[in-house]
Symmetry: D2
């Protein structure tokens, strides 16, 4: 298994950047759920390129075509398959990298794994373009979750050293970030991030950032001990998003600098319900939800495709060689990665609570 | 599935802190491998309590008893089952927490999940004691990995704000940390950490830290795209260790503060071999090894069991209530968690490369 | 998981009889394998309808369209997705069965499972039409198996009470049955079977039969003990073919009427190689191949769609009601099921030996 | 994975015939279920040897020891581990077969798979003795099923050519066979079977038979389409029982000799409930239960261990060689296999309906 995930809700992602189509099969959706395709499209458009000044201007229509699994927009229990046909692929752009792997891309490791038969064009199956089907699957799962009172929401927590406010860990409201050009809580910080991205772009460079994600409305008692806890499953799936290099739950790495007495979430009774006063655990103890919002942060590295000339090698001759990456590339993929993180979280959580 | 993991090497962990025994079944070990039981014991003793001044003094003999899978200490292809009989359990210590969950333990979430039937005594199946069988399985897998030229090594990267040196990411030597009381590279830092732990102990408090782990000798081309990459599988399994709240690969969260040009690992040729000049990616691109050392950091939260009185609640009466945790507890589990991280890494990597 | 199978070679089948398209994702194919699409088409045509007098005349172009996974007809390591667009669906034919389930079809059990939201039209996801993508996947896997010296071959062993000759269990040659209208070894028996099918058709009735399948060229030592043996995995997957109601390995049920001394396969040395003199075990001992041909028989029930009026019920009113199934249906699906059995065997065996 | 099965209820079987112990881990049992250990013991004793004249007289105490997962005989949600210590192993009996594989045992295929390191003694991990832990797990699952109104019952349908009556497929009552020496419906047939077994024993030979199993009380709508249907999962797991060579559901292979009009199960209304008039489908359509009893038959080959001298080979010298199997062996394992079939059915069904 590689491009599949899940136990009850099973996702199979396929396609390469420049193959005829990309898409996803979703197996295990409960039957009888009406899918609002307009909401799906709206969700997918948050990931789509060309939405703002600094994202790639390549044409990407990304019209999802449903091949199976829906009857009159209602799930029928059969696997739902969605495809997006690729158009206007400029494979020519990638001729030079067939022999010269791009630093910090998967070109080299895939070349070794697949004995040189990997589809290098546009990054092949490793392309960020494969997150479009993930967003589709996430949008579908999110609608089913909403019926269950569960919602998923993410925002940019930081771009380089500029930090947005955090979600209120005790009570995550609706921050209405999905319509913003830069999905942040604090718009001033959003403007600074924009400037930082613009600066990187002008330098022919790129920047990364951190995304904070919250799942609210999930009751206590979900998840399994040890290897099938909420953290295990979210971590496994979130690392399926290209460019992710770290994940932490609750206060994560920061917890290692606190005393136990500072980090522990003491219990209290609020309106007759058992709650914790703080939520440093990010809603999870022993892999199992405790009823507080699930909170996690995801580290997105700076886009490896940069305009600057870099040192690489010739695979054929095993000699050193400079590489110049041409074509347009996002100087920062973090804003577009926000709905992708939400999507993978939604798929994972639905898989767990079904 | 919950306490099981793996595809080729399949681990099934069982036992509760105070059940008759704890243990592990390892299914899928290649036949014909001689297991050096003395080395296994030596490895397990690194996790054992009572090794230093600040670790719990409870008696834990931890003698592994092999029930199956070995013939004359050689794997025979049948599942290897190992058990450790629990002795001298003091279940009485835990009577008060049956109704009063300990903050930031799994008591409450497990109570909800299991409708109050969870074995609360000693933390039950969520106890750190279950890492003993994990260490056993890891020690076995490590010996098989060594035959393949792969080695796994971890050290404490930080305790609270005191930081050890990092592994050389390009060339991880043998740092011989396994025999140290505090497994660090820089012994001065180790002394400071010890003082920090001692201080927390005196305060009736606890501290956490970060563990850095390296896997060396692994060739390029292992791992799968998307959801079955090295990062996905390591992350999923490492979160199976109690108290882990974060994982990052290579420079992880720090990468989000760098420019792409700083973070990218440029290629070079070294002695005719393709290498990268830096190893910010932690040896993994697109989920697949690139031949450089695999590097990752694990965040361990401060021990939730502290001597200070904490606010909790009565599960029965849904009223607020103070809780005093009695018995001896480690003010810092990070030193004992170092071999556990190595063990889980070894099991995971062996599972991937078989 | 439901319409997915496999561990290394992972198949995800999607589509309904009358959905926009049907298809399959094949994940895990080794990279660098040239796929001969003409051979794939030839294989698929063996399953296609309208090939002979008694099979349904519905138009089914079944042109496989490759969306991903191949670059210049060579596998690139990314998931291979193939779709077949459905044309000329006559959904109107199925209006009456929405409330009146067809006996021995999945209409009723799927109605209950999916709360009435199942796609009943043409049998939906349960339709025999879904075996077209299975044949595609099988044809691809078979080409990779052939490179490894493994071949898969099936024939009709019986239709109703008419029995074909059996494969020579010790040495299964190439019987060249794939081009026959009725894929049998003994053509006289084939003519009798044809007459039997014709007779059933005239009566508005249907017949079933048994398919014998052989896998040759597979070395000893493949498979796992207990639950992941060759028999377990073949059985699990073969029951994924609609209308299969039984499977037996080697002499199967007949073995229960023999003495041990008759049924045991004694060993011998032949040209320096260890063989068995008989092959009653069908090439498998303890779930593991012994180097002899793998042999198994599959029971295919008579087509449940018959022209005769049958007793059914109204789901809405819970009253008894007669049902007349209109439209054209195969009086016997066994001939078309022969390549499907080969396909599933090929996928399963490739999954095991990779 | 090999000696593991299941999705929600996960079973991990370990041990060899002559290892220190054999046992099983059951992961995923719901918490709060009282397990009646006396009933478990009574169930296990049905499989135990020495129960009648013709079964092996080897001493097998088979006292299950619970290591974890129960608190006061109530499941606590943690994995339940049970071990049986092996006593009085006579490994010496097996010295001669280390080089001379027994026909139709797994000795040879396991030797190849494990490069000669397999534990040959007593059949190692392939021994019928490993069905004792399966029976334990089945007995536990059966108690949970009973709380849900589901029961599992099997009997000997045939020994060699002597056939017992069949269950009433429409309405499977309690046939009270569990206390019989020969678990059959028709005791006259039981006497004839006994004579047949006795005859085989005197000849130094063995006989096999067919077991019929019924699962009653299961509602319509369980199971998944295609590869995760009831038939797929039962078949996969039942082939985990040593000596099983075939499985058929409902009238299985017999269906292939009937017309569709004879084989189809027409619907009717009975006391306001939807039923089928016949149950040729064995309660399953499209992999999904239809509310009728689940019925299946299992083919058990004659015991491969016979007293007669047989032809074998020397693995070392690759020469032909006669083999005489010494020690006591059951001339027929079918009676003892009856509870094993029930056990595996119970585990599988519980896994599906949870």
């Amino acid at each position: 298994m590689s491009s599949m995930m899940g136990n009850k809700i099973k996702i199979s992602v396929f396609g390469q950047s420049h193959s005829k189509a990309i898409g996803v099969v979703i197996d295990g959706l409960p039957a009888g759920k009406k899918i609002d395709m307009e909401k799906v499209m709206a969700f997918m458009s948050r990931r789509a390129p060309g939405r703002n000044a600094y994202s790639t201007k390549r044409f990407e229509a990304d019209k999802p075509e449903i091949l199976s699994g829906l009857v009159n927009d209602i799930t029928c229990g059969a696997p739902l398959c969605m495809v997006i046909y690729n158009e206007n692929q400029k494979s020519a752009d990638y001729n030079n990298i067939m022999d010269t792997p791009r630093p910090s891309h998967a070109d080299y490791s895939a070349y070794i794994k697949h004995n040189g038969f990997n589809d290098v064009s546009g990054g092949g199956h490793f392309s960020g373009r494969l997150t479009a089907p993930l967003c589709f699957a996430g949008a579908v799962c999110m609608q089913i979750l909403e019926d269950m009172g569960v919602s998923v929401q993410a925002h940019i927590l930081s771009i380089k050293n500029i930090k947005d406010d955090k979600f209120n860990p005790i009570n995550v409201e609706n921050y209405n970030i999905e319509k913003k050009e830069i999905p942040v809580i604090n718009d001033n910080k959003g403007e600074q991030m924009k400037a930082e991205i613009e600066k990187a772009k002008l330098m022919g460079d790129s920047v990364g950032g951190v995304i904070e994600c919250a799942v609210t409305g999930i009751k206590a008692g979900f998840g399994e001990p040890m290897f099938d806890g909420i953290e295990n499953q979210l971590a496994r799936n979130i690392f399926g998003i290209p460019a992710v290099k770290g994940i932490e739950f609750g206060n994560g790495f920061e917890a290692t600098t606190l005393y136990g007495s500072e980090n522990n979430d003491e219990f209290c009774i609020e309106n007759g319900e058992i709650k914790t006063k703080t939520n440093n655990a990010g809603g999870i103890n022993g892999g199992i939800t405790n009823g507080m919002p699930i909170l996690f942060n995801v580290a997105i590295k700076p886009t490896p495709s940069i305009a600057k000339i870099q040192d690489s090698i010739s695979l054929k001759y095993k000699t050193e060689k400079e590489l110049e990456i041409t074509g347009r590339h996002d100087p920062c993929i973090v804003p577009r990665a926000v709905p992708v993180v939400e999507a993978v979280a939604a798929i994972t959580i639905l898989d767990i609570i079904l």
